[in-house]
Structures are given as C-alpha cells and as structure tokens.
Amino acid sequence: MNKYSRERFDVLVVGGGPAGVAAAVCAAENGAHVGIVDENPNLGGQIWRAGLPGGDHSAGASNWYARVRAARVSVLCGKRVFHQPDAGILLAEGADDVCELSYRSLVLATGARERFLPFPGWTVPNVMGAGGLQAMVKSGLPIQGKRVVVAGTGPLLLAVAAYLQEHGAEVPIICEQAPWTKLARFGIAMVRYPGKITQGLKLRRNISGIRLVMNSWVIAAHGEQVLLSVTISHAGTLEQIKCDYLACGFHLVPNTELPALLGCRIRCGYVQVDDFQQTSVKGTFCAGEPTGIGGVELSLLEGQIAGLAASGQDSGARAIFGEREKFRRFARTLDDTFCLRSELRSLASPETLICRCEDVPYSRLQEHTSWRAAKLHTRCGMGPCQGRICGPATQFLFKWNPDSVRPPVFPARVENLAVSPVDEPPIPAATGGLQ
C-alpha cells in the first residue's frame, strides 16, 4: 500500500528540463502557485542532466535553478505522471507513493527521446544510445580508458563525443549518416546563430583528434555477452573497429504520449500549438521538443512563453515571439540536415530483433501491413516500453503509424490504477463471475 497525497496548483508543469524549468519560473515569478513534476531525482531533463554530486552544471542551468528556488516553485522529483483520471487532475507515481496533482493550467514539457534503428547486434550489452551512454557516464559509469565508437545522426553525436573524451574515453570515430553536402549547408546556416557558432567552435576544439566521417553508419555490432567490435560502412567500404561501447542514436523523437492522452492535437508527429504555446486543449500548453525538435535555446524560449501565457501574462509572452521565430528556423534546419537516408532501412536482417521487449524479429513483422496488425499478432509494441523504442523504428522501416494512446501512459503499479479522485458510490460486485 503506498502513500497518497494531493496537491493543487495554479500552473502545473510536467517535465523538469529546460522548457519546463523556464515555464515554471515565468509563471511563479508572477505570483502563480506553481508545481513542476519530473521522474528523475533532480531537475534538468536530458540536456541539463545532473551528474554525480559535485559534478558540473552548465552555467545556464544554474541561473534558472536559482530562479526556481527564489520563486518558490514546488519541485516534485521522482514522480512520473501516468494518467489523467479527470479533467484538471493528473496522477503521478513515485517509488512508494502516488499523488494527485490538480491544476488550473498545465504546461507539458515532456521533452524528447533518442530514435533507435535496428541493425544486427544492436541488442548486445554496451550498445547504447549516444545520449544514453552520456547519461550513464553522468550517473557514474566509469569511462576512463574505454574505447567508444559514436554513431548515428544529429548534433548530439558531437556533443556526446566531446563529453566522453573530456572524461577520459578514447573515441576513435564519429560516424554521421548525413552526407557532407547537408552538413556543409548546416554549417553555413549557423552563421545566423552566433551563439550556435560559438558552441560549434568550442565543440570543434573539444573533438579535435577524433575522426569524423560523414555518409557512414554502423552495419553490425559484434559480441555475445558484451560488445567487442563494430563494423561500419563508409563510402562503400567496410571497416571493423574494436570497442568497449557503441554510442549510437538517430536524432530525437518527441515525447507526445502524454499530450496525446490529454487530447492535444498531434500533427506530423508533433504537438500542435498556437503562438502562445497553447495546444488544442484550452488551458493546456506545450513547450520544447514535443512541439518540434529545436534544442535548448528554443526550449527555453517556448517554455518562457508557455509559462507566461499559462499564468495570464500574454503581453510578456508576446515580447518573446520574435526571438522564438529565429530559433524555430534553426529547428527546421536541424530536421532537414539530419533526415534519415534510405540505406538505413536495409540494415536489419530477418533475424534482427525490432521489438526488444517481446523479442520480435524483423521477419515476423514483414508479414503485416500496419502497426495495429503487427502489434496484435506478434506483440510488437505490447511490452513495457509501450512502443517507445520499436514505434519510431517501425515507422521508419515500414511507414507505420502508431495507434492511439491509452492510459497508463507509462507503466504504473496496479494499485495506482485504482486511485480515483471523485468520490462515487461503490459499484456492486459480480453478476455471473465470468468475463
């Protein structure tokens, strides 16, 4: 039996990354009673993930956290939202408790996750996402002296390679699947974003000495109990590289499951919002990656707008529209630069597992013509990840669209499914016993 608690807020923010923190601060600084809920032990989401005690914080994050404290935002860490039992209420579960969070306005800042594409050997231990390995190192995984191949696509690869190298890893290669031409155009486009250029230059210094190869990708990972080596393809040639870890991710996928559960309109995979970051559900706002993958600056701007709008400060929100538009253009550039090439559809062999929760191989999925049919008949997507890993993979491989979202939007304890905020007369038991 777990503890039960109830909290009421003017503005509830779901997600403690940059967008959520910015929203919470902007709402609370104007006097609103604000709560921010995140399942990690600390605020920061992915990009501002705190390391071990005494580890580094990015300077930008520290200032925002100071404002969180000063504005007396209620910080609810270690709690995961899984359901909306009634309008204006969310349920969140912790390790040994469940809380009912009521709100007048809601800001969804649920962030993004890495996209994984299957290839032979991708399930071997020590094959992780790029952000995945970085998160593990931040959580104490010793990486000093280990050899890490970084691969996939997206700006995350460079940032992760730099981070790993800074912490003593040997990074022999970064394999970026995007072609040189696209990356060159991206580089030119960065001229418009001075902040990004500085970031980029810093990165270039940091990752000097690492071989950066374009038009290349991992075609297989080798090893039984743990990873021993990978084979990469580069301009038609194959190369085998010994390594201890493979940090491989294909850019980001927005976490739209909670917004979808709450009835927010999703278009082309992103949560649709108006200028004030309001979704199709009145009083529910969305900021950051779920509205479009755009990086930390855009998340901060959208978060500020959402927090201001959610607390009735429309003119304050309007003042930020121009700055936001600049970074929205950057987001569109990102999308185009790192779009996935068709060769990546041919990596999986018939035996390659696509659904890791249920061990469903590629060959079994090829018999079906829709996500729904595949799910019903092979259990692909029926595991605890609820399709978060295999969904984007099958979307890329087969152009399948995931079906509708049901509660719990994240696995939750059975006892917490019975939490019901409204008192109703008990329903009588059984006529007939059988389902």
Partner: protein
C-alpha cells in the same frame, strides 16, 4: 456489378468469423471474409481468451462443452503464438454460501462428464498461494484452457485461406441486404449466403436483432512467472442483486504463458465510447486486490476496453435470421466468444449445408427471439 461469386460472405474477421470461414472452407465452399480492420481486432483482441465450460444454463453448458472439445482436438495443430495452455479454472468461494455453490457446480459437471475437484481452504492455498488467506475453497476444473485470441483467429483464417477462402480487409460493411453486402467504398460483394459475424456491431448491420454492447476493462501486468497458475474466477455473484442492467465488476485473473497477469473483469451497460472509465477500472482493480493482494505492487503495462456482443438471454444467435432468405447470424457471444467460436462455426455450417448438428440447436436459433424477446 459483382455476381454471386461466393458461396458464403462472412462479415467480421474476429474469432467467430474466422472459425466460420475455416469450417465453410473445409466443406469445400467458396468463402470471402470482410472486415473494416485487421483479423481478430474487435472483442477478439480485447478479451481474455478463456476456454471454459459454463453451467449457468443447460444450453450454455452444451455449447461450451462441445466447443471446448473442438479446441482440445485442434490443439495439436495450433502454432506456438496461439499460446494454448490447459491452465484450468478455479472457481473461488469466499465463504460457506459460495462453497454451497461449489458443491452444486461439482455435481452438475460430474453428471455431464466434466472432471472437477472440490478444494478446501488449505488445498486452495496450496494451488494458488497468492490468494489471500481466509477464503473458503473452490472448484478446480482442470481441462479449461487459455489462449491468445488474435493469433487463434489468424490461424483459423490462414487455414481457410489455404483452402481458397478470400479475405478483404480495410473496408467497412455499410449494409447487408439479401444475397450481398455493400462496402464503404461502394463495392458490393455477393454470396449465396451472408453471415453476420460482426459481434458488437451486428445490430447496426442487421437492425432488429437484439445485440447490445457490454463494455469491459482489462489490465495486463509485466512478467511475474509463477505468481498465478490457473484462471481464477470468483463466485461472489451470489451476494449481489442479480441484474442485467447494472454495472458490475468481478474478480477474474488469468496467467498468460508469458508470465504476465491479465486482470478483469467489468461489465457496463449503455457505454458507447471505448475510453477507459476510471470509476469502473478502480472498482475492478480493488476487487482483484481483495482476492490477491500481491497484484497491487505489480507493474501494469496496459489497460484497455472492449465491447462484448450481448443478447437478452445470454445465448448467442446462430442460424438463419428471421425475415431474410439468405442471411445467417453468428453473433451475440457476450464473454464466451473464444470458447464457443468453434462450435458456432460447426453448427452454422451444418445449418447451411443441411447436415445434422451434433447438439440440439434450438436454444441458439435467432428465430427464438421473435417470440421471447421483450425489453429488459
């Protein structure tokens, strides 16, 4: 305009439609099955897949016993993904009154050749250690089974297709008239005989037949192998007012071969939308926790709803539809669609081909309703 290219047009590719397709194809008939979604996607996808012999009426018993035998005969042919297990059912008695029901059930089954074993409190605990203390006992029916319905439906449909049956998915049937069905893309499919196996939607296509939607909820957990061994169903209905119109929940849990636990069950009347009803879900979960407290701490991976096709007298409609020359019904199976699908198909095919059914079929004929049905 399509001619009567088919002997049989079956509306609905759920377990009942698939079983019918398989049975008709086996008799050499030219079959097409039409469904707006994928095979086994309606109640077939939502239900528990319990293969159970029921005793709430002689007619229900006859049908479920016949069909269970057919499943047992089919079992050696079923592929692994159908996950057929002879897990057995234990009807759980919470007190002495319910133990009286256990004894009555045992006697009923014994007279009809169905093996069962009365369990006292301690035997019940031994068989299912995760049931709470203080229950009175139960009745074990060892040859009841469980399976995974969508794959069972797919197996039957594949077998029918191997014998030449055709499958047309993705178009909804908008109208059933004499000798043909009209689809949402305005195509028509014609057959000597049309079978309405559309489950909870059957009365939309054949107005006037008494099929009402009875909504249910289910929860599935992550894998906890060994926690539960049998399908467990409570006998608690004795305590509550017996009513067909009231919402209710019952303790009903099933072990899947995967080690996941399916938690049910609920019944709701008049609900048309398929969203999870928080109040019903809560009651259902609380009821289940009362019998098996250990369920509470388990990780629930999914919750979903489904619609059973219910008739006023709880028996399905299998046979010619009154008022039509060539329309047959195979629907109204409520919570027993998986169990009775094979017998339904046999009985239906017997009626269409003029063969003698293996059991008396009067209780299931749609024509019975013309005289008997009144509003409940």
């Amino acid at each position: 305009m399509g001619k009567a290219a088919y002997d049989v047009v079956i509306v609905g590719a759920g377990i009942v439609g698939a079983a019918c397709a398989d049975a008709f194809a086996k008799r050499g008939m030219h079959v097409v099955v039409v469904d707006r979604d994928v095979v086994g996607s309606g109640a077939t996808a939502a239900g528990m897949g319990h293969i159970v012999v029921m005793d709430d009426s002689d007619a229900q018993f006859a049908l479920t016993q016949y069909s269970q035998r057919l499943w047992q005969e089919l079992r050696p042919h079923l592929p692994a993904d159908v996950e057929y297990e002879e897990a057995g059912t234990i009807w759980v008695a919470a007190d002495d009154e319910e133990m009286g029901e256990v004894i009555r059930k045992k006697d009923y089954y014994e007279r009809r050749g169905v093996g069962s074993q009365i369990l006292d409190a301690s035997q019940l605990q031994t068989k299912e250690p995760n049931l709470r203390d203080g229950l009175a006992g139960g009745l074990l029916v060892p040859r009841d089974g469980v399976l995974y319905p969508p794959c069972a439906a797919r197996f039957l449909m594949n077998r029918a297709q191997q014998r030449g049956a055709k499958l047309k998915l993705g178009s909804a049937v908008t109208q059933i008239v004499e000798g043909r069905v009209r689809l949402s893309d305005d195509q028509e499919v014609a057959g000597e005989v049309v079978v309405n196996a559309a489950g909870a939607n059957a009365s939309e296509l054949t107005p006037g037949i008494e099929i009402k939607k009875r909504k249910g909820h289910l929860v599935i957990t992550d894998r906890y192998p060994g926690f539960l061994r049998h399908q467990l169903v409570e006998l608690g209905y004795l305590k509550s007012a017996h009513s067909v119109a009231q919402d209710s929940v019952a303790f009903n849990v099933q072990p899947r071969r995967t080690g996941q636990i399916l938690i049910g069950s609920s019944r709701q009347y008049g609900a048309e939308h398929n969203e999870v009803d928080q109040a019903m879900l809560g009651e259902m979960v609380r009821r289940a926790e009362q019998y098996m407290p250990g369920l509470g701490a388990m990780s629930a991976v999914r919750v979903w709803t489904g619609f059973r096709a219910a008739t006023p007298d709880k028996l399905p409609l299998i046979g010619p539809c009154p008022g039509y020359n060539s329309l047959f019904l195979a629907t109204g199976h409520e919570g027993l669609g998986i169990t009775t699908s094979l017998a339904t198909a046999r009985i239906l095919v017997d009626q269409v081909t003029g063969a003698k059914p293996e059991i008396p079929i009067a209780p299931y004929l749609p024509s019975r309703t013309v005289k008997e049905f009144a509003h409940v």
